[in-house]
């Protein structure tokens, strides 16, 4: 996948298929410690230890329309190739937490990419699921919780096109101001603004 936001979109489908109604997506970027951690936590049906182990195997899937399941193996490969790892914590009946870590400045790390399309798309297609999206960059936090939005909307569905448009823009603006107003990711990748991010000198 070209963007980590596409892996996230994919991994969250597992949570939806597991019958979750609350899914939290957390991204924590720390350029001082040079880490990037993505967590997807749900309250779905969970997996026993054996199934959780098998989830890393591309030739295991719980579905019946095909014989392979690539979501978790692809994210695990992406993390491992960037000096990180993928952890699965799951309890039957309680839920699952997938945690993928990366070296933030690793040359092979895909950009986080378009999180506003990932999160607003998930909300638009899953009216009955609540999403809590938290994104932290060097201690600056952006958070969006659909339970807060639904309280304001009352009888108006959160999936109304105009509401989804507002959510998408809200996330886009929120991420930009969390990065300090600039297009941080594009700048660092274009080699600009290196002085303020010492981790970029590693390669």
């Amino acid at each position: 996948m070209k963007e980590l936001s596409l892996h996230i979109l994919d991994i969250v489908q597992n949570s939806i298929d597991a019958g979750s109604n609350i899914i939290s997506i957390t991204i924590n970027e720390d350029t001082i410690r040079d880490t990037l951690v993505i967590k997807v936590k749900d309250n779905g049906k969970g997996m026993d230890a054996q199934t959780a182990r098998k989830a890393r195997d591309p030739f295991f899937t719980s579905r019946t329309t095909r014989k392979v399941g690539l979501g978790i193996p692809l994210l695990a490969a992406a993390a491992e190739r960037c000096g990180g790892s993928l952890k699965i914590n799951s309890l039957p009946g309680k839920g699952t937490e997938i945690s993928a870590s990366f070296i933030h400045s690793h040359i092979d790390r895909a950009p986080i990419g378009n999180m506003w399309d990932t999160v607003s798309g998930l909300i638009a297609c899953n009216e009955d699921v609540d999403f809590i999206y938290t994104h932290v960059f060097n201690g600056n936090t952006f958070k969006l919780d659909t339970r807060d939005i639904k309280k304001i909307l009352k009888e108006v569905p959160i999936t109304s096109p105009e509401v989804i448009g507002w959510i998408r823009d809200r996330i886009k603006d929120g991420i930009n101001s969390m990065y300090g107003g600039g297009e941080y990711e594009n700048n660092t990748r274009a080699g600009r603004d290196k002085a303020s991010h010492p981790s970029d000198f590693k390669h």
């Binding site: 399309d117 798309g121 638009a124 297609c125 304001i152 009352k154 108006v156 507002w166 603006d173 929120g174």
Partner: protein, 123 residues
């Protein structure tokens, strides 16, 4: 930054159209969003459909997602369900093709035959 006040404005505007919407049984547009679909470009297709629905005020249209349909090589796949009509499956979608499906099939009732799975399999 988009404000809560703007959200409350949207709520008021949407509320006025809500009662009209309830009496109509609408069209469902379903986008395949499994690993295969996402890797093939389903996310921009989904957003193109949502934008087209919003821009044309199609208040009786529901956009939804589904998992893998089993024909991964033809992703991104979009299915259109119109009440009382047979399902139409569109394959190898792009944002531009998806916009055309909304404008012609959903709005004008003209199936875009050249993008359907039947037409793809004749190739």
């Amino acid at each position: 930054m988009k404000t809560i006040q703007e959200l409350e404005e949207i709520r008021r505007r949407t509320l006025q159209t809500l009662n009209i919407r309830k009496d109509r049984s609408g069209t469902r547009i379903v986008v395949g969003m499994a690993t295969c679909g996402i890797a093939a470009g389903a996310r921009p297709v989904l957003h193109a459909i949502m934008d087209e629905v919003k821009d044309n005020n199609l208040s009786d249209v529901v956009v939804a997602q589904t998992g893998c349909i089993g024909i991964c090589r033809l992703e991104p796949i979009v299915e259109v369900y119109k009440p009382g009509e047979e399902k139409v499956t569109y394959v190898r979608m792009t944002p531009e093709k998806a916009r055309r499906v909304v404008r012609e099939h959903v709005m004008l009732d003209k199936v875009v035959s050249e993008y359907t799975i039947g037409s793809e399999e004749k190739k």
